[in-house]
Amino acid sequence: MIRSASAFDSRLRACPDCDLLQRLPPVPAGGVAQCARCQAPLWRHKPDSLRRTLALALAGAILWLIANTVPMLGLSVAGREAFTTVFGGVLAMWRDGRQEVAMLVLFTAVIAPALEIVCLLAVVLALRRPSAPHWVGMLLRGYELVREWSMIEIMLLGVLVALIKIAELATVIPGLALFVLGALVFLLAAMAAAFDTHLAWARIEWADERPLPGERSTACVPEARR
């Protein structure tokens, strides 16, 4: 069974959720290969992945810049007005002595989305070459790590709740950044959905030198690097 697997066969997969060893079938663009036992998605074959991701990541970068520079929310009470950006929220937490929480909000609402966009943008641009250098793999890994901590959609819901809490006390003025952030949520989701991780790894140079053709025919499955 293993013998049928050629050396460094990137179609051989161990399911990340149940470790079932299987071979990826040819998947048409837009299709999904699922684990035969636990239905975990093993490969989502995205059509036209690089170009779509590039377009969405560029748009995301522009919206991120706008969202973090213009006011997000304003408050008007008794003739006084106060505006805040996302960063303003972080500063308020910092000043009031909750530095840990301020850093967490800064990371999840500002830095992680930026890293998410920048990493993927660099990966997609580098992958336009047929064989991308190994550091692209590091960026791709960084992108996967940071995705879970990029929480713009949750922050936006939080802003909505805060807005309703405040609405009884004062008049709330929604700022431009609020709408831009709303658009950014959908752009980031579309960007992640357009990107094909499996195809990306196939175009990145290996950390180790590829084995000689002779070695390739003798070894059934790659020997791991020490």
């Binding site: 069974m1 060893l21 840990e100 967490l104 949750i154 709740v161 006390l169 950390a207 690097r225 020490r226």
Partner: protein
């Protein structure tokens, strides 16, 4: 493929957790790295059960002050008022905004507690070597991983209430100590989910099947 499911581990193979490439691990347990992406290879995440338990217990301890201490303190010339997470939910409950109150309640109270219970159940069932409902358990794991981030909601709510209501000396809001503990619960449970290795759920039934065959 043969009809009986075979795990990569039973053949001495490891799927890379970063790039997915399957490699053969040398015998003797030396430190090995994925030849494609350079990530360290493991058959299973190291000390998965112990680390996940440690994080679950730490999160459970923080869960108590997170819910008992105030997350927001409101100051006016007439005096001050504090609110815990639950009091915030009750405050939000009105004929027009009750759906949001439910969302905050689910995100701040139900999800963190449900996550801790779900992780404890997964850990105990793996430690007992349970062979039952493997598919349901892996689905539970995926749900916990997917939903868990949403408990950050209350941290964001508090941040922006504090940022906006800064109209000294008329009225201003400061964050309470509860926010730190609550943020701690969210981060610890997210890390705990990542420490847990779902492949452990399947390990024993497979060995038994092979033993019977």
């Amino acid at each position: 493929m043969s009809a009986t499911p075979v795990s990569a581990m039973s053949l001495g193979l490891a799927g890379c957790e970063v790039c997915g490439l399957v490699s053969r691990l040398p015998v003797g347990g030396v430190v090995t790295h994925c030849p494609r992406c350079g990530e360290r290879l493991h058959l299973r995440r190291p000390a998965s059960i112990e680390r996940t338990w440690a994080l679950v217990i730490a999160a459970l301890i923080l869960y108590v002050p997170a819910n008992l201490l105030p997350v927001l303190s409101t100051y006016t010339p007439l005096g001050s008022d504090t609110a815990t997470i639950m009091e915030g939910v009750v405050e939000l409950w009105s004929p027009s905004s009750w759906p949001l109150a439910i969302i905050v309640f689910v995100a701040s109270i139900t999800i963190p507690l449900g996550k801790l219970i779900a992780l404890a159940y997964l850990l105990i069932s793996v430690q007992r070597g349970s062979v039952k409902s493997t598919e349901q358990r892996v689905r539970l794991y995926r749900m916990v991983k997917f939903i868990g981030r949403w408990s950050m909601l209350d941290v964001f709510v508090d941040t922006f209430v504090v940022a906006l209501i800064q109209l000294r000396p008329l009225m201003w809001v400061e964050p309470g100590a509860g926010v730190i503990f609550f943020a701690g619960v969210v981060v610890l449970t997210m890390v705990a989910v990542n420490c847990f290795d779902p492949r452990l759920i399947w390990d024993l039934p497979q060995q038994e099947k092979q033993g019977n065959a």
